[in-house]
Every structure is written in C-alpha cells, then in structure tokens.
Symmetry: D2
Subunit: 286 residues, 4 copies
C-alpha cells in the first residue's frame, strides 16, 4: 500500500489494549486501512497489526508526533512494537547456490512489483546465478566457501551485507549452513526454504528420503533460520500430490514449484510486515 | 466458546469505529477472546466481530447494561448490529430429500458437539431419512411435495418451522426449489449446498454437466438462498481432482465428500456467528 | 464393478509381460474394463492390474479354465499373482476405541454402497461404539484391554476374527498397539489411520506435537500396519491448512475430517483391489 | 526420456487391442518403459500410450521396420495413431501480450530442461517481452495487431510460424482472439491459458467477475483452442483460496501463480505426448 504505516505490537494480554491503541490512532486522525489482532491464550500474549494511510501532504498523518505519543503507552503495556513506513523499503540480500529456480522467481516477482523491497545484492558460493543477476541488473558477488575457508567467507559476506545495509537475508536454495554468528547478526532476519514438509525429512536430500519412505504428498517449508538446523519458526508450507509413478527426479521437479511458492509468500509477508515471531512460532496476519 | 457473547457490526466506514466499540467494551470490563475487523474500500463499509467472555456469576459481564449503553453508539454510527450469547443456542431445521450423506454428516457432527445448536426437527419430501432421524432422536416430518400441492406443502412446512421456533433452515441436499415467500420468511436464514463449483454448472445435474464439459476439478458450494436460484452469497467452496478415468458415478461419489465438507463448514460458521452478509457476498471471520 | 474379475500381478520386470498376459486374456475372450501397469526401474519390478467383465451366463468368462491356463505363465515369469472376483466380497472387521468419527463414516459409506465388502463385526476396547453398530445392524464386541490382560484380550480378538472369517482388519481410530503376532496373522491385511502427516509426528498425541511445532498444515495418513509402529506402507495422505488462530482443539476437529477421508479411501482402494504392496511402499492403480 | 519412442493410439474399443499392440512391440524387442490404456465405455473408444527405449546403436530398436509392420495393424483396428521419437524435439512458438509471467516461467523451465522442445520464436502484439526473449536468446517478433490490420497481422504470423516450422503454438497470456483460420491451421496445436476456472467466467476480465460474484476459490485453466472461445478441451485446472480480504488486485496476483502452473503443466504434458484429445475432452496419461 502506497504511503502507509504499519504498527506491529506484541505484549502480555490484558483488558483495554485494543481500546488504548485505537484511541491513540484516532486522536491523530489515522485513516485505518487494515487492523487485526490475535490472542494466544496459552501464552497470555496479545498481537496486533494496524496499517493506516499517511495521506496527502497538507493533511498528512504526523508520524513523528504519533511516535512520541505512543512511546509511554508502549512502556505502560510492556509492548514490543515496531513502526514501519512504506516509503522506507527494506533492503534484502538473496543468497543462492546452484539451483536457480527460487532466485529466478524472486527476481521476476520483484521486477513485477510483487515484492516491496530493494535488492542491493546477490551472494553465491557458485557462479551459476550471475547471468540472471545481470539480466535483472543486480550486483552479484561470488564468495566461494569451503570447509577450510568458511570463517573467512562469512567475513566477506558480513562486509558485503553491512555495506549494502541489508535488513533481511533470503536463502533461495543456498546450500550452506550458516554459522551461529551469522544467525545472531540477523535475528529474525534470515528466511530459508527447506525442500520438505517440516518436521518430516530434516537435513540433506529430503526428496530422496521422501521417495524412500513412499509418501503420497511432498512438501516445502519456508521458515526463519535459528541456530538449530531446520528448526526455526515456520512461515509457510505447501504440498503436492505424488504417486508411485513419480521417480526422485519427478519429486525434485514438482518440489521446485512448491519451493518457489512457499519462499516467495514468506518473503512477501515479511516485507508487508505481516509476520510476528514468538517462541518457535509465527503469527501471520492476512 | 462457553458463556460468551458475540457482537457483529456492519456500518459505513469512518474513523474512530474500532476505538468507539473497544472503549465501550473496555468500560464494561469485557474480557475479549477474539476480535476482527474488515473494511470494504469499494463499498465504504466496515465490518466487525468481537467475542468476549461473560465470566462467572459474581463478576459476570452486565450484558443488559452494555446493550443499553451500546444502542446510542449504534445509532450514531448507523450500525447494523447483532448481539448473540452462547447460552441461547440457535434452533435449526434440516431439510433433506433422498441423498442422505449431508444429513448423516450434520447429525453426527451435532452429536459430537461440533455444531452449537438445537435441531428440533427434520423435514423431508421423502421418507428415506426417517431411520437416521430416529437414531439421533430428532423428530422427522414427511411432507410430500408435488407441483400440484406445493403451496399447501410449504404451508405445512411454515407451520412446523414456526412451532419449532426455527431461526435457520439448512437444505442438506433438499431437491425442491423454495418459493420466494419461503426465502422472504427467512432472510439470511436458509443455507443450501449446490453440487458444483458455482457459478459453473448452475441448475440441475451439475455432475453430468461437469462430466460432459471435461473439467479436471469438480466442486461444491454452500451459500445463502436468495430468490434467484443458485445465485445467493457464497459461504464456502471446495474442489476435488478428477481424471479421464472418472465416470459420472465417480464424480457423484467424490462430490458427496465435498458437499459434506462445504455444508458443515457453512453451518458451523453461521452458528458461531462468523458470517456477515452484504450485497451478494459474505465476510467470514476466522 | 458388478460381476467382474481382477488380476493383480507383481513380478521381476522383463520384456513381453504385457503381451503374455494380454494374449492369455484375449484367448479366453476377456472383455477388459480397465488395465494398468507400472514398472519400478530401481527395483526391476513389474506391476499389473487387469479388470474384466465376467459376462452373462450363456457367454460367461470361464474363470476356472483361465485360472488353470494362467498358472504355468505365472510360474514362468515368477509372478506373485492374485485373482479376485467381485462376487466374493471381502469380509472386514472394524476396530475402534472412543473416537467414533471414522467408524461412523465407514458404516455410512458401507450402507450407501461405497464399500464393496461384508462387515461381520466391530471390535472395541470401549463400549462407546455400540449404539452406532446397532443402528447399522452389525454385531459389536466389547473386548476391554489392559496392560495386564493384553495377550488374553488379543486371543479373544483372534477367535472372533476367525469365526467371522475376516480378511481385512481396519483400525478406525483404535488406540491400542497390535502385538507382532497380530500383525503376522494378517500380513497385508491391517489398515490403520494415523492422525499426522507421516513421517512427521510419529507416536502419541500428534496434534499436540504439530501445535507445538507451529506447522501451517496438518495431515493424516492411512497405511498398512507392520511390526514397526507408524512405519508401514503408506496408502493415502491428505492435509488441511491451519493458522495461528487454531488451537489444539481446532487441529483435532480439522484432523477428524482428514482422518475420515484418508481412511475411507484406503479401505475402498483395498477392497477394489487397487493396491499392490512392495517393500515399504504401495502402488495405487487409479 | 532420452532416446525413446512414444506410440499414441485412439480407436474403437474391441477385444484383443492390448494383446495385438503388445505382441507387435514384443516381436521387435521393445523395452517398454511405460504403458497405459483407457477405455471410454460411453463412447466405445480405446486409448493407449506406450513408451519404449530405443536403445544403444548396436542393439537399436528398428523403428522403421516396426512402423511398417504396425501400419496394417493400425488399419485393421481402425486406429488413429501417432509415433513420436524423443530425438525429434517439437518446435514451439510462444505468443504473449503484456503480462509476462507465463512467458518468463516457460522460458525458465525450458532453460532448466523441464520442457523437451525447441523454441524458435516468440511472437507478440506488444514490445514488452523483448528483453526476456533476448536474455534467453530467442528471436522476438513484434507483430502489432489492430481491428483494422488483423488479417494482415495474422498473415505475418503464419509466415513466421511456417518459416520456423512450428508444430505447437502456446498462448502465454496472449490477449488477442485467434481467427478461425488460425485455429484450423493448427488443429490440436494451440494451447491457451484462461484466467478462470472454466466454464465459470468465460470471456474478458474473469478476475473482476469472480470478485463481483464473491467466490471463495479462484482458478485457472489450460486448454486447446477451438473455434469457439474458451470452449476447447480442458487440459489442466487449479484453484487457490481467497477471502473477503482479497481485492481484485490480490485475485490477479494469486491468479498469476495458478496460470503459470496450469499452462506449464499443459505444455509439458503435450510435449511428453501424454495427451489424447477426443471430442471436447482430453485423456491425460500420467
């Protein structure tokens, strides 16, 4: 949505939260486009997303004043809150290895305007993605990684990411495991796609494992990366039907379509500020 | 949800609506379980559903006082509002002809506690459903209908429905077209299942039509009944994959499973006060 | 299909198999309704299913003669083959505990003619299913099972199954683990429904585990029972979408619909002789 | 499959067909990879697809000799048959207008080896697709079309298609209606994607129509083009769930993903010689 602001709130649940936030927005004349709340009764948590129009210049919403007025409210209710404006587009780095289908899909969607972000760079441990990057006019950095030079390689990646002022890292079939330090540097800011219906088939070669087990549906999962492999908060999952006629190659081919879909949805929802993480779960506001 | 109240609101959209409603609920100490809003920007309409706990006796929410205090607010904002309490369970009549799968499904779900309603009667133009009705202990009324006695038959139905104080009529594969008068008597209160993916294959024998057209998916649709056949607001739809191997009988068999699912969801959502109708559409709060 | 025969073949793959079988059927004048083959190239196996009409009396297919003529062919090609005729309906025992939704579904489908079998008995370790059994006119046997009397209880079950001449045992949410002896007695003849998308969430309380993991889809799986828990050949799987709004109870309710669907499909396909097991997998002829 | 042949047969059903074809293949030593048959009992038609390996040079299958030997058989059984070899890759023209998502998807899949064909040219009534065509190294022809110059424009298209020796035309969101002459020139050789769940929402702006009707699922359909608009044999369909929150733009965005999937499947199946048309329907061998 053009020229809008999004407020995301997580806090302990208590009476009057919606009233308090709504009143403050009303006081500043917010023209609310979309609002949604969720309560997790087990955890006693309250989640809220509000999006409102910032309006034309003469009647513009005073974001600075609202922000200042909102601060004591946030403290009072012990809120963890984020305020985003559409004008400031997140800066996203795409990581890829040799399978390029997710990269091609994200770049095409970005070009079509489906993804509200800047993509200042692509980083890969292989050279295969370079022509695609070039076509879409995005700088491509080949940073080879081996067991021996992993720390050095990551240091290069960190430097590139910092220079490019990146907020979100998207692993578009990047087949290297990130170090714990990498994950700690981007808390809540690394999205991965795993080519199975997690938690089934964790780890390497999930399509081979699925074929061996004789499942009738295969899946793909997009999730935030945490220090524990394939165990981060799940953002989106989807499945496709297979039969005894499908060989491993068919699973891989059908899986590519799933991977594209679940990864691109996750990235879009993140960029649209629709996701709130808590514990090992996600709230996805629709 | 046990001992809860639901407030449903439809009104012209304007600033401050959420704040106004939230404040009123907060003032009366409502312990909100679930709240959701929607804005239709094209129509300039605002929709809201709030559910809150009515609490134990000594600290009970004062519904009467709230209701009185809310009335001027509703007038001020030109609201169309409904207030429901879980204690008063809707009274539902099931209509059926000879295909009993939807009836069997609804009765089983009702017995299991999935449907929060009373079912004081079943009405049919055939005798086939009687054993099922008996098993579940629900009075069964056989009201034969012919072209000749249609008005008379409906008069009997009206009498039965009024005596039973019915709020919602569910057509569980009832193969007679209701008269305009019937529809007018239960505005927003007749749910039907159509055995196609509407608006495809309107009218009779949709599975035969789907087979003839060579579609690759078949569907079923639950909707509110309006005076125009198969054209009321859609509540839920689902589809199943078919192939060239499927004959009309297979479509009918696969379709039965779809019909059960889309009809039972529609009935449950209606009973849970999750549906708001507007124009020829529905808002389904999840 | 009324008055038809089905031939199921598994054998090492080699040239001329389809020709050999087709010729033999042609020689006896078989009117083929449906034929399908599959080759597993990794395992070097060939699978075939042929169904043909047995015809009216005067021109009836001579099954006895065909069977005798086919025997040397089967030996020559080292075939594992089964010949079934629709006239002889499989005898099926339903096992259930306290969750009755799968039982109710199977009994309703049986009554409607969707399942081509006899159901001579229902066995349960609880009494809850008795009214349903009674309604559908099927003998119900309450065989309580405790850790202490398990062997004794199973002995009772074996006696009942033998008396009833049962070929297939369907565990319709039967919450007891069968002994290895039970499984050995019915090789390829026990179908279970597991309330998760196997191999995710093996074991007890899978919906609770799925809720805890924060998955976005839940599933159910029907499979043949082997001595290793939840590890037998998968027959069918399906999934349903859930969101952060769904509590464990919602997962359980949505899961019930999946369980009904995947179990009833598995039973129907088994009865229609559409399934061939090999290793830990299934071929499902459609 | 590398170095294989596919035989597709449609003929009046009669006894002995599978035996006759299998014997002939066996006589020539065919190493069958995949075989499938279908009978349409209503129409009395038999359909068959056989794929076999052509083998290494010294033991190569003698296609010429088989073809000659098969001819009298085909006449005897009144077969409509096609013999394809993998070595001769079909030549495909892609037509596109301004929406490039299907084009981008097909070109990417082609580059990855998912589509077994040559793409000698892309034809468009707009210039938008040119950069994509260039990136993938495929000649792009801008042939503007207006009501006034339609015949002239099509004449240019015919010349381009003939020069390029094209067998299959794929309309990848080409927003012009082909003339009857065009359709007659490529009988069975024009695949289109329609952005609705046909036969619902035939004609222009189907997403707007779907939004207006308030459906809960949207769909897309790939089909062979016939002289009657949107009425040709359906190849594939798929759907996506929408809610009251989705605006027309959201339907269009979700629909793009469906269009890519159903169109690419249709093209792949056609190229893999998996589709048999009959009347207004398709048999899709899997």
């Amino acid at each position: 949505m053009k020229d809008s602001a999004v407020l995301l709130i997580t806090c302990p649940d208590q009476k009057g939260l919606v009233a308090a936030v709504s009143n403050e927005l009303y006081r500043f004349g917010a023209n609310i486009i979309h609002a949604d709340q969720h309560r997790d009764h087990d955890e006693g948590l309250f989640f809220m997303r509000v999006e409102w129009s910032l309006g034309a210049q003469e009647q513009a919403f005073d974001l600075q004043a609202f922000s200042e007025a909102f601060a004591p409210l946030a403290r009072q209710y012990n809120m963890d809150s984020q305020l985003h404006v559409s004008e400031i587009r997140p800066r996203v780095a795409l990581f890829v290895s040799q399978h390029l289908h997710c990269l091609a899909d994200l770049l095409h969607r970005h070009q079509m305007g489906e993804l509200e972000c800047e993509i200042p760079l692509i980083i890969s441990n292989h050279a295969d993605g370079e022509p695609l990057a070039k076509f879409y006019g995005i700088p491509f950095h080949h940073v080879p990684l081996t067991a021996a030079n992993k720390a050095e390689g990551e240091a290069k990646q960190f430097a590139l990411l910092e220079t490019a002022d990146v907020e979100l890292v998207v692993l578009a079939r990047y087949m290297q495991i990130l170090s714990p330090e990498f994950v700690r540097r981007y808390p809540g800011g690394v999205i991965n796609v795993h080519h199975s219906f997690l938690p089934a088939f964790i780890g390497a070669r999930p399509y081979h494992a699925a074929y061996k087990r004789g499942v009738k549906l295969i899946g793909a999962t997009s999730h935030y990366v945490t220090e524990e492999l394939d165990d981060g908060p799940i953002i989106e999952q989807d499945v496709a039907r297979i039969s005894h006629r499908d060989q491993v190659e068919d699973l891989i081919a059908k899986g590519r379509d799933l991977e594209r879909v679940v990864l691109s949805r996750a990235v879009r929802w993140h960029l649209d500020r629709r996701i709130l993480r808590y514990g090992n779960k996600t709230v996805i506001f629709d």
